[in-house]
Symmetry: C2
Subunit: 506 residues, 2 copies
């Protein structure tokens, strides 16, 4: 960038980036180290930073910087103009969205979120939906008011989904999800009726699980000069700076594969972040260097978790390593470990669901939140509709609301429009993997040869650098040459199911 206006905006963006990364540090510490009683003060710190970021992103000075840069666009070298035009357009879009919102609404939402989260925790603990229902009603009311203020040419649910999955709408989701709705229940049913090996039960202590996670990361390119693995109540991935990547896992002694799979998943998120345009890119700190969408982000974590770690070749390689670390092999042979890594039976809890039923959990949530926001479904009826959907999709029924509509945190924080990204991640992952395999051969072949770095190279070349240049659908189109569809995912799932069910019962 050569003009003064651009330089000023560039400095502004970089400072906002510094500030956002301070927020990440506070969040990281809160979830990995902070003692319990630190929470209230941490809240004040986070609120202060949030207020600074908000005022930077909505203030008159920022509007002026943005307008000046837009006016100076023509003075940039012609080759750079398309990128900077897109950067500025994305900033403009975000700026206008923020500016359209009444600060009183923003405050009211922050308060309602905090109350909603707290009441949800109580309600879930007590298995009592009625204590949470009024908070959810208030959150829906405020979010609909937000939709009214944003005044976009989209439906309310679509408007709220934009920050997670740009340009996504009901119609497209319907095209993508209809095949899932149609065929996944039959696959779930198919599993239910087939004999399989008995699943081994085993437990493993924290040190062993931690060691296996570290072995996994070492194989998958973890560099301790720029990466950290820690423990937290809920696994997550974050960046504290352009060369400072952090992930967490949690150890459940009764579920010896849980920390391992969570590590694979979060490391996938981190690898995507690490592959985005970095400090060496002129776009660093600008929208084009940001992640494409939540669905694409999820596709990257799911690739490493499901396509690599839950593959049969992986179990072949890792069964001896697990046996060495655990000191025994209660799972039996490598296929026993493979089966343990691929639980098939549908359960009530989304975060424990396998690849087969996961998207059904999402469909149910997507449909219910659309009903709440767009079809006047009374909040009081949510538990009943939840059970009905559950019965239809998965043929199981929660015993109580805490296993049902209170299991997820999202709605308690007024987060609507997010769930589909989880399902899109599965679809995108499958479609990208088909393209990858067409170019460099089967994932499993590379895994069997310890060549995961070749998989990463492909992602680093074809997927990661695109950033926000494209939305999720455009990314798939650009990388695979075809439109996003559920077909690759269903193909993959059916083939994997055949192979899993073929593992002879013992």
């Amino acid at each position: 960038m050569s003009t003064a206006a651009f330089d000023q905006l560039h400095r502004h963006q970089r400072e906002t980036h510094v500030l956002a990364s301070i927020n990440s540090c506070l969040y990281w510490d809160q979830n990995t180290a902070m003692p319990l009683d630190g929470a209230a003060w941490r809240g004040e710190q986070l609120a202060w930073v949030a207020q600074q970021i908000h005022s930077r992103q909505t203030g008159a000075r920022y509007g002026e910087l943005l307008a000046a840069a837009e006016a100076g666009l023509g003075q940039l070298p012609p080759d750079d103009q398309a990128d900077w035009q897109q950067n500025l357009a994305l900033l403009r879009q975000q700026y206008e969205r923020q500016c359209r919102l009444d600060p009183a609404l923003v405050n009211a939402l922050a308060g309602a979120r905090a109350r909603g989260y707290s009441l949800w925790q109580d309600a879930r603990r007590n298995r009592d939906f009625s204590t949470f229902a009024p908070a959810l009603e208030e959150l829906i009311r405020l979010r609909l008011e937000q939709v009214r203020q944003l005044a976009e040419p989209r439906s309310p649910w679509e408007t709220l989904a934009q920050p997670f999955e740009p340009d996504v709408g009901h119609q497209r989701l319907e095209e993508l999800f209809a095949p899932l709705r149609q065929r996944l229940p039959a696959l779930v049913e198919r599993v239910r009726g087939r004999p399989r090996r008995a699943m081994p039960q085993w437990t493993t202590g924290q040190a062993v699980q931690r060691s296996l996670c570290e072995q996994l990361l070492a194989c998958w390119g973890f560099d301790e000069r720029r990466c950290v693995l820690a423990s937290s109540p809920h696994p997550f991935s974050t960046n504290l700076g352009p060369r400072d990547f952090r992930i967490t896992s949690r150890t459940l002694v009764q579920q010896p594969l849980s920390a391992f799979m969570a590590t694979a998943h979060e490391w996938g998120h981190s690898l995507y972040d690490q592959g985005l345009p970095g400090q060496e890119s002129p776009c660093f700190g600008w929208p084009l260097a940001a992640p494409t969408s939540m669905g694409v982000h999820e596709s990257q974590s799911l690739f490493w978790e499901n396509r690599v770690a839950r593959g049969r070749a992986f179990s072949q390689v890792w069964s001896p390593r697990f046996a060495e670390a655990v000191g025994a092999a209660p799972w039996g042979d490598a296929d026993g470990l493979w089966m343990a890594m691929n639980p098939l039976d549908p359960g009530l809890i989304r975060v424990e669901a396998g690849e087969l039923s996961y998207c059904l959990h999402i469909l149910l949530r997507y449909e219910l939140e659309t009903d709440l926001l767009e079809h006047n479904m009374p909040v009081a009826e949510l538990p009943e509709h939840w059970c009905a959907h559950m019965a239809r999709y998965l043929d199981i029924t929660p015993d109580h609301v805490s296993e049902g509509c209170l299991q997820d945190v999202h709605w308690s924080e007024g987060l609507f429009g997010y769930f589909p990204s989880y399902a899109l991640g599965h679809l995108i992952s499958a479609q990208l993997t088909e393209a990858m395999e067409a170019e460099i051969g089967p994932v499993e072949t590379h895994v069997a040869a310890g060549g995961e770095s070749r998989l990463l190279s492909w992602l680093r070349r074809r997927v990661h650098p695109l950033g926000r240049r494209v939305n999720g659908e455009q990314l798939v189109q650009q990388v695979t040459g075809g439109s996003l569809s559920a077909a690759p995912f269903l193909r993959y799932l059916e083939a994997k199911l055949d192979r899993l069910l073929a593992v002879a019962p013992r």
Copy 2:
């Protein structure tokens, strides 16, 4: 506080406090978790926060808030006026000091500090003073310019010492330190000539050391809801919020008592911070709730490290605990552990020095930095004068500058005037302990009975709440009824030496 001006300043102070605690979080993470490559970005984050704090503390708006509050002082309830007058006077003093400094000098100093630290690291690694000397000359030049701008009625060294030890001057230090200078070398000599038991050599792994540190903290009132122990390359203590206290230690396998003693020391610092006026005090976030001085802070860490953990009773209680944790007792009986905890022979390195020679290390530094700042001692002569002082006070000579004048970090960051606080800490600790023992009986009696909480109660009642209401000397006067002096420290040291030397050689 009832007036609007006070309320506004109060909010300003609280926000500055929030911001300062964000800085602490960044520092904590940097030293406990951050990967190496995160350093550059962390530098940007820290610089941003520092700039925000600086502009809050020197801006015109702050000056107006301060002046308005000063003008409104008379409207406060009469009972509150003395406290708020002192709070405002301390803020005013700090504000005027900041305002007198040319921002160009502040920037130049920040740059010179960073360069000095970096060159010092190189010089120390290469045992080559000449690479660091020009940076030290520049730091001295800039600090003398700072003294000129501050224009206080004090000598240059005294001016620079104010932030650490308010109101301290050469004359008073001379009165306090002369007895040390006179009598400590003789005590060191006395040790050298006496037969003692052979010191046991042993090593202990990280987990065992960590477990012993945790046992120690549990005995000394550690509350995991508000406190954290972590590892870092250099032990330190910090607060990330009013109910969020952190300390670190480091494990040296070859020095099995090092982590333990560092934990005792840092926990003493933390206990002092925890006992300062907290959120329930109207002065929270104001100067009166801040620590008295660095010397007083050090007196608290030294109390727990030296008076409690290095006491004979402590070894009696802890020798079985150590044996249980280590799985053996290479130190022999409890007195063997006591001797291991009290190395007497003088060494070259300050941070490894025992109680006997520690203050001599400080005298040497205090004298040399005074010579550098006030008596035109050429920087090039520092190594030679260092050796001469070392020979005079401790009768030993460094083999190279990295064991000599390059061993401490302070001067490389332009930090002059800090060292005496370390020695004052020993004096204050001894004098406070005499007062404590006169009131509640011998420290050792409480330790023998597992009654450390009674020691803490006394400190919580008599010492901690005073905060910046008093300077270090006033605190001693107020608590003990006598002027600060070296006599209690020398009395204590001589008595302890008698007891240590009386432990029969085996």
